[in-house]
Amino acid sequence: MRLKRLEVRGFKSFADRTEFDFNADLTGIVGPNGCGKSNVVDALKWVLGDRSAKSLRGAEMTDVIFKGAEGREGLHQAEVTIVLENDQLGEDPVAFTPEREHPVDAPERADGESVGGEALDGEGVTDSEVPDVLVAGVQDGDETGSGDVSDVVRRTRHALVANCTELR
């Protein structure tokens, strides 16, 4: 399974459609403070199934939708598509966009109906096919910042336990 491409639109500070090719083994993301680097990381977490507002650094799930900027209206939906190539089976790359039903009580986005939501170029990828992604950083949602070693130890326990339950 290889990551080929990521497309974001209306997700956090990415108001317009933006594409990232991930053909390389090691891709770097750089830029000044506040420009949107960690938002790319959040987009990858979200499209791969992370549904915790806190881990996406928001108060609620609708915080991922572009809220507006100087001279630009906020949007009503966020859409992230990831294209994965399953090199074992020689299949076509499969695109996967999360079905995002917004909670009806979403205050400022009352019109934020379902976001994204269709499988492109082929069958939808079911959750079990979505690969595990290890995400680690010092800016993660929780207050302690997972760069701190005691935090990583806590996650290690979860990772190791999860590992076993999966293999059970």
Binding site: L3, F14, I29, V30, V41, A136, V138
Partner: protein, 165 residues
């Protein structure tokens, strides 16, 4: 599956001991289960001994040593069951130049079979990347992507500045 957990834990522990030595170029470290009775519910205890220093709890380590130890744990668990790709967000922030290099040397052992994406402000880490994407807010509050070559990074991270000077 308790025995399975013990087996997985032992693998992670083995990995941690060797990756720590590689990152710190010496010293030794270990991880223990605080409760052996019910392993699945137990906490994990880490001890670390950077080269030339006494064995101690992780609380006494310096900021950079803590980050490096955290990276050793991350890679140790990753090695037990590698994911197809891994995202690292400024994990090199507290490291000095020497430790950034050691981190990159260990990272190279993992790149290839798995894809890595790394967010960084360190020039040495940027230099190790195959491809660099710059994120910019040419229009205030709106992010866009541009491709950046390594020698353009200095100019790029200065712009756009709206300083009233």
């Amino acid at each position: 599956s308790r025995s399975l957990f013990a087996q997985t834990f032992e693998q992670a522990r083995e990995n941690f001991r060797s990756i720590f030595r590689k990152l710190f170029q010496g010293g030794r470290a270990d991880m223990y289960l605080t409760e052996t009775e019910n392993a699945l519910e137990s906490g994990i205890e880490i001890v670390a001994k950077p080269p030339g220093k006494e064995l101690q709890s992780i609380a006494l380590l310096s900021g950079g040593e803590r980050s490096l130890t955290a990276l050793a744990i991350l890679f140790a668990v990753f090695k037990v069951k590698p994911s197809p790709f891994c995202i690292l967000d400024e994990v090199d922030a507290a490291l000095d130049e020497t430790n950034v290099e050691r981190f990159l040397r260990v990272l190279q052992d993992f790149v290839g079979p798995s894809q890595f994406c790394i967010v960084t402000h360190h020039k040495r880490t940027m230099a190790a990347c195959d491809v660099l994407y710059g994120i910019t807010m040419q229009r205030r509050g709106i992010s866009s992507r541009i491709s950046v070559a390594l020698d353009e990074v200095d100019e790029f991270s200065e712009a756009p500045r709206f300083d009233k000077a």
